[in-house]
């Protein structure tokens, strides 16, 4: 078991207990772990998104190695960038196997200058005075997302569901009553539940008389659906806790020098001493603030 893995195990256990200590109260261990989390995830996203999209699919198209010619102006810029950061801009161009389209003024895939420019503007928007620079890039993503989602949600979440609700009642060997396999009773339950549920969200008419009764039935179906998602949510949370305990047990093994035991005891002692030291003041506030 190499030292980096053992060191890693000890850090993992410390961070796990650091976050769990929040259950006791908001304390320095928790604040340290939480801020480390914020910092590491920010740095980790930045490097991952650069190496999986911007470098291969943007620079890979603008400066492909197949078009490399050291005297062209465009590749001079590239070599300049390479001087600043050679791993990202290896000399001889980026070789990611992109096809080359519309080369203009020696610039391959020139239309990819547009996302490149919008992207740079987004980064520049960090400067408060020109924070509106980000709006063009965000507008592109909002526009495209609207076009994708308008079709996707209408097709799968509306028309697809209409098709699913309009069940077939003509199939002769469909039993009238059966719990876990398709049956006429179950198709009626789906039909009635969907229609009454939709009518609950009808706002143009007062929910009185027949519409009132129908929407009452509708809210019952909605409540059963919320109950199911409540049950599933609790189930999911418990599974995640089980996963954490399994990891902690693994790291309590002797090959990790019983990391879990030592760190747990150390934290309890420190927090216990701290609670003992200032047990007089504001203990009531901290108790419930967790």
């Amino acid at each position: 078991m190499s030292t980096t893995i053992i060191l890693g195990a000890w850090i993992a256990v410390f961070l796990t207990f650091g976050i769990f200590s929040y259950l006791y109260k908001d304390n320095p261990f928790y604040k340290t772990a939480e801020h480390l989390f914020v910092g590491i995830s920010a740095g980790y996203w930045t490097s991952l998104f650069f190496w999986t999209q911007i470098q291969p699919n943007l620079f890979g198209r603008l400066w492909p190695s197949s078009n490399y010619s050291s005297d062209s102006f465009w590749y001079m810029i590239y070599n300049g960038l390479g001087f600043f950061y050679s791993p990202g801009f290896p000399n001889g161009g980026v070789d990611k196997g992109h096809e080359i389209h519309n080369v203009v003024l020696g610039i391959p895939n020139i239309h990819y200058l547009i996302p490149f420019a919008l992207g740079i503007m987004m980064l520049l928007s960090l400067i408060p005075k020109i924070s509106w620079f980000a709006r063009w890039g965000i507008a592109y993503t909002v526009g495209m997302a609207a076009g994708l989602r308008a079709y996707g949600f209408l097709n799968s979440n509306v028309i697809g569901q209409i098709k699913g609700t309009a069940a077939s009642f003509s199939d002769p060997n469909l039993p009238f009553w059966s719990l876990t396999s398709p049956s006429i009773f179950n198709s009626i339950v789906i039909l009635v539940g969907t229609i009454t549920g939709l009518l609950y969200f009808y706002f143009s008419k007062e929910h009185k008389g027949i519409l009132g009764k129908i929407s009452k039935v509708g809210i019952y179906f909605l409540m059963i659906s919320f109950g199911a998602s409540f049950g599933f949510a609790v189930m999911g949370r418990i599974s995640l806790l089980i996963g954490r305990f399994v990891d902690l047990i693994k790291y309590s093994g002797s090959e990790y020098y019983n990391a879990t035991l030592w760190i747990l005891v150390a934290m309890i002692i420190i927090l216990g001493y701290d609670a003992f030291k200032n047990r007089g003041n504001n203990s009531s506030v901290s108790k419930d603030a967790a």
Partner: protein, 287 residues
Amino acid sequence: MKDRQFWIVLGSLFVVFLIYWYLGHPMFNANRVVMFISIVAISATLLYNIRMAERGEEFYLRPIPGLKAVEEAVGRSTEMGKPVLYVPGIMDMDQVETVAGVIVLGHVAKMTARYETSLNVPVSRSIVMKAAREICRESYMIEGRPDMFHDDMVHYLTDDQFAYAAGVNGIMVREKPAACLYMGKFYAESLILAETGNSIGAIQIAGTASQAQIPFFVTACDYTLIGEEFFAASAYLSQKPELIGGVRGQDMVKAGVITIIILATLFRFLYEKWGIGFDVVKLLTVQ
């Protein structure tokens, strides 16, 4: 024929499409025509209602029970001389739910101005703070109590989900508000807030469209605006034509969806049983 201009444009678009269709509809993916027609039909319904609302046409929107509960809650906190806590969710203004949460905040601010109750609005995004301050100042102005409004009524805590929940919990335990209102987009921290609010005995009213959090709010809060009720409430309060027209348009489309479900079941039965009519399932399968 209320909106002549609308019907003329729609009619001419329809004619142009018919001509294009009979010319062999080049470059058009024919087996998605059902989707094309439904997109155009629904967009036309929405646009028609928005235009009617802009013209000042009176639309009836049924009273939203949750809003009455909000008034009672603010009234109760006035009697008890305790503040009202308002949490506009943890996301930014690009989320439609946060925008709705800020609109409802404007309505609550009018009430706290009228009843002279103190209002506390902790936020987790800087843009939300600006928008929330703007709308509160305006509400206090309209109620003729600009003197009661002070900037740190709306204050920024942190961007991080759990640190924000811990901060709001601290406010609840210290100030013991009589009413806690949660209106906006929420994730897992909804449970932490609702549970602490419950433990200090406050009236709790929530409004969100985040499907996974609605069950927790329904069980832990006294009243919950569920999904579209939350959007309808904000449209109703904002009196903005495009929002009220939008709610009205969606109602019409919902009525259409229900009719289509019933007709589709009928046609499917007729087609599969006696071969009358056409195969509705194939029509509704768009690839």
